[in-house]
């Protein structure tokens, strides 16, 4: 198959680029090694749409963060992912910290952060009453927000596919040769894709992809962040995303309300060797909770429903590296996309589109580009009367599969129809199994629905692709 553009990596960067390019008359393919999109760093992060005051505009990542932040309202209207501009605060507990807050404020003003303000003790406690009353003041950036990151990526990809982009899952790029003016890209299992231009958005593996294409040599350093998710019943649920004041050595950890009503504490930041090491540890758990409790005293380990870790794909420079390769032909690097990659992603899409212009790629807008995707009704957001109506139309909405998060059979069927056929894929799309019981009740029902809708047999259903099978054998024989 011959394409104009191949994007390697279907995280939030690749997905944003794909959706942007779907506006043009280009044949684009999005390539991903995992069984679903957003299974890399883009699924395991804090889900914050950052406000733009943390780093100077001199960094590319900061400029794209500010630009990206502004694009979320429009994107939400078009794509319907969960997003709320809840605002971000930085809480200061000493005069020293308050001085630092003033610097952040100045930086924010310089960067053009809309609505940023310094708060007195009274004001900050008014905005965020859950704070430890020892707080003495802080910063408030009302433009910051929260999103469900995987739902954001899913919707970007769905929109791109709707407008003609193609998606290859389970395609692990392993080799590439440039011949007769195009790239021949092969997977580890011998599949081949041919494309004129290649965009490297491979996250943690952007360095190996760059090497495979004989482009620049650099090293991605995985920086691990552990996070703990707390029950929606937790008394500590805050109004705002709460940052501590960054101190020399450690950035400290954050307290984050999620759009879906649970809350998170984390992340830590620890450089690791292994790009697959997303394990969590007791030491970090204790650190996070000790630290967070100083900010919101009602935070408790008792409310933990699950934990996870993500790896930031960082470069030594600390900045994003998004540019046309000087070494490999028609090759664009989108590397070092650490935090605030999620926030910057929409702007990364635009930025890469402009880089393609530098490479003389012809960008002609499609006349019939459709920015909207169909929204899926979510039972948990409907009133009893709205529910009654929808159940009448489709009784599967009346079959509540996940009791903790109020997810119906119809929503799971919809997830499968949209291509999410692993347990984690269904979970990220619908939230089934994401609540307090973590799938204790609904997993077997979800497995059965996946089998029915896809025709997969029991031993082909996986948690997240490859060898992550859930059921091994049938009782009484045929294995």
């Amino acid at each position: 198959m011959k394409y104009d553009i191949a994007i390697i990596g279907a995280g939030v960067s690749g997905a944003s680029i794909a959706r942007k390019l779907s506006q043009y008359n280009l044949k684009t393919i999005l390539i991903e090694k995992e069984a679903d999109v957003s299974f890399g760093t883009s699924k395991a992060n804090s889900g914050i749409v950052h406000a733009g005051f943390h780093t100077s505009w001199k960094y590319l990542k900061s400029r794209l963060e500010i630009q990206g932040n502004l694009m979320f309202d429009g994107l939400q209207r078009e794509l319907g992912f969960p997003f709320r501009r809840c605002g971000i605060i930085v809480a200061a507990f000493s005069e020293e910290e308050l001085k630092h807050v003033q610097e952040l404020y100045r930086q924010g003003v310089e960067n053009g952060v809309i609505g940023i303000e310094i708060c007195s003790r009274e004001r900050i406690l008014d905005i965020e009453p859950k704070l430890n009353p020892d707080v003495i003041g802080g910063l408030h950036a009302p433009n910051g927000g929260i999103i469900e990151p995987y739902r954001f990526v899913f919707s970007l990809v769905e929109s791109a596919l709707k407008n003609g982009v193609e998606l290859f899952l389970n395609f692990k790029v392993e080799k590439a040769v440039r011949s007769r003016g195009t790239w021949m890209i092969s997977s580890d299992d011998g599949q081949i894709v041919e494309a004129d231009y290649v965009i490297n958005a491979a996250g943690l593996y952007a360095d190996s992809i760059s090497a495979i294409f004989n482009a620049e040599l650099f090293k991605i350093i995985p920086r691990k962040g552990e996070e703990y998710l707390l029950d929606r019943m937790s008394p500590a649920y805050p109004n705002k995303v709460i940052f501590p004041v960054p101190s020399g050595k450690s950035k400290g950890t954050l307290i984050i309300p999620t759009v879906e009503g649970t809350m998170m504490v984390g992340p830590t930041a620890e450089e690791v060797e292994d790009k697959e090491d997303t394990s969590t540890s007791t030491e970090q758990l204790n650190r996070i909770f000790d630290f967070s409790r100083r900010i919101i005293p009602s935070i408790s380990e008792r409310d933990i429903i699950t934990s996870f870790a993500g790896l930031r794909p960082a470069l030594e420079s600390g900045d994003f590296y998004i540019d046309v390769s000087q070494k490999a032909e028609n090759f664009i690097q989108v590397a070092g996309i650490q935090s605030p990659g999620l926030t910057a992603a929409p702007a990364i899409g635009d930025y890469v589109k402009d880089l393609l212009k530098k490479l003389d790629c012809s960008l002609i807008e499609k006349k019939n580009w459709d920015p909207f995707i169909d929204k899926v009704p979510r039972m948990r957001n409907l009133s009893h009367y709205e529910s009654e109506k929808i159940v009448k139309e489709n009784p599967q909405y009346g079959n509540i599969i996940c009791r903790c998060e109020k997810v119906s059979e119809a929503e799971i069927v919809e997830a499968v129809k949209r291509g999410h056929s692993t347990l984690d894929g269904v979970k990220f799309f619908t939230r089934t199994g994401m609540g307090r019981c973590q799938g204790g009740f609904c997993t077997y029902k979800t497995i059965k629905i996946i089998m029915r809708e896809t025709g997969l047999s029991y031993n082909q259903v996986t948690k997240r692709g490859r060898n992550s099978k859930v059921l091994m054998r049938k009782l009484g024989g045929d294995s």
Binding site: M233, S279, I305, T306, V391, G398, N399, C437, M472, L475
Partner: protein, 421 residues
């Protein structure tokens, strides 16, 4: 929206819900059960082992057989059963005082509203998961609660894995150790953090010892390893409550089952403003098993986790008969407090009365041979009962006759305290 009116609506059609509903219906009241699954029976349906009904039927039945006996009675009665229907919200009626409203969702009946003069909560319990107990390490496939594995094996006929380790020596974990062995799997170990098993003795013998499955007491799983599917776990002994890293060892496995406790399922109750016990996560109830909301009663595992279904049935019948009195406006009586005394984790109900007999259920915090359960009011000993053996995993029940309380009936504000000595 379709509406139905009942004297009593029972939420959940497990052992508790069926027994309670039958008791209310017997007195001629319009009664309904709402059950989310396709069948009545609740958790019993996946417990295909023997050991149910020794008290209730004087014979040993399997879970499904026990459930079937009750389900048949329900079917023969006038109790209206809404299967495949989930109660999504319980609230007080805006229209009539003392009426409750239940919004129910179903793929069979659509979205409908039940109005009821009384409600019985019998939603059972759920299992604690990995997050609740925070095991560090990776998050591969192959980790699930023992109850989910039990369901997969016994009802759906699927084996989740071959090389098994079980965390927690609760009854479900023990029963699954035997079940998986019977299914041809290798169960390598049961790991228990406490110095004593948390399941009943019968299960330790019949499910582990008979199959030479090692039980590691005072050990924890300190790490989970594996990428796609779990590959091994690290086990660390506890020395005076602290992890003894040096003596850690690894066990290879492809499946990890968690049997780390059950928690009453009180999502609905909490949203309805029902006060819960922070100790047991079940509703606080008076001696009639009524919650702080008038007309809402609770019984079975939603109230506190039981280890014997026979106790569930007995407790639920008593909830049912109190509902009858409530509906007849004859449920009266001063409620006095019952406290958990020495070595007692909790006592249910948390109140008693002088009008009739009182039945209490409790759990010990200690393991002891030759123990006494002592009920006293101040300095006055009301009753003592001898027990050959007590341990946290075996629920203790004690009944106090009306006459036994006569010694203290004149004194106002009397409190009872139950201790194990």
């Amino acid at each position: 929206m379709k509406e139905y009116i009942f004297d009593c609506v029972v939420i959940g059609g497990g052992a508790a819900g069926m027994a309670a509903a039958l008791e209310v219906e017997k007195s001629g009241f319009d009664t309904a059960i709402v059950e989310r699954e396709e069948h009545l029976g609740g958790i019993l349906l996946q417990c295909i082992h023997n050991g149910f009904g020794l008290h209730e039927f004087k014979e040993e039945l399997t879970g499904p057989e026990y459930a079937e006996r009750f389900a048949e009675r329900v079917q023969a009665s006038s109790v209206k059963v809404f299967l495949e229907s989930t109660v999504m919200e319980l609230s007080e009626s805006g229209e009539a005082a003392g009426m409750h409203e239940l919004h129910c969702y179903s793929s069979v009946y659509g979205v409908f509203l039940l109005k009821a003069r009384s409600v019985i909560l019998s939603m059972g319990c759920r299992e604690r998961n990995r997050g609740n107990i925070g095991i560090p390490g990776s998050r591969p496939s192959g980790i699930m609660t023992a109850g989910l594995a039990q369901r997969l094996v016994n009802i759906d006929g699927y084996i989740p894995g071959e090389q098994i380790v079980i965390i927690g020596s609760g009854d479900i974990g023990l029963i699954m150790a035997r079940r998986m062995t019977w299914a041809g799997c290798k169960v390598h170990a049961v790991i228990e953090i406490q110095p004593y098993p948390s399941g009943i003795t019968r299960n330790i013998v019949q499910c582990l010892e008979d199959f030479d499955i090692p039980l590691y007491l005072s050990h924890v799983v300190s790490e989970i390893r594996g990428k796609d599917r779990i590959e091994s776990i690290r086990v660390t002994p506890l020395k005076n409550g602290i992890q003894d890293e040096e003596n850690s060892f690894e066990i290879k496995c492809d499946t990890l089952l968690l049997s780390v406790g059950l928690v009453p399922e009180n999502e609905l109750s909490r949203k309805a403003g029902i006060e819960l016990s922070p100790q047991i996560n079940g509703p606080l109830v008076d001696s009639f098993l009524m919650t702080n909301k008038k007309g809402i009663f609770a019984c079975g595992n939603v109230l506190h986790v039981h280890d014997l279904v026979d106790y569930v049935s007995r407790e639920s019948r008593s909830a049912g008969s109190n509902v009858v009195k409530y509906l007849n406006s004859t449920l009266t009586g001063v409620q006095n407090k019952v406290k958990a005394g020495a070595n007692v984790r909790y006592v249910v109900p948390q109140k008693f009365n002088f009008q009739g007999d009182n039945q209490f259920y409790m759990r010990s915090m200690i393991v002891k041979n030759g123990a006494k359960v002592e009920v006293r009011a101040g300095n006055i000993i009301i009753k003592t009962v001898n027990h050959n053996h007590v341990q946290p995993s075996e629920m203790i029940s004690i009944s106090i006759k009306k006459e036994e309380l006569e010694k203290i009936s004149g004194i106002p504000d009397q409190q009872l305290e139950i201790s194990i000595i």
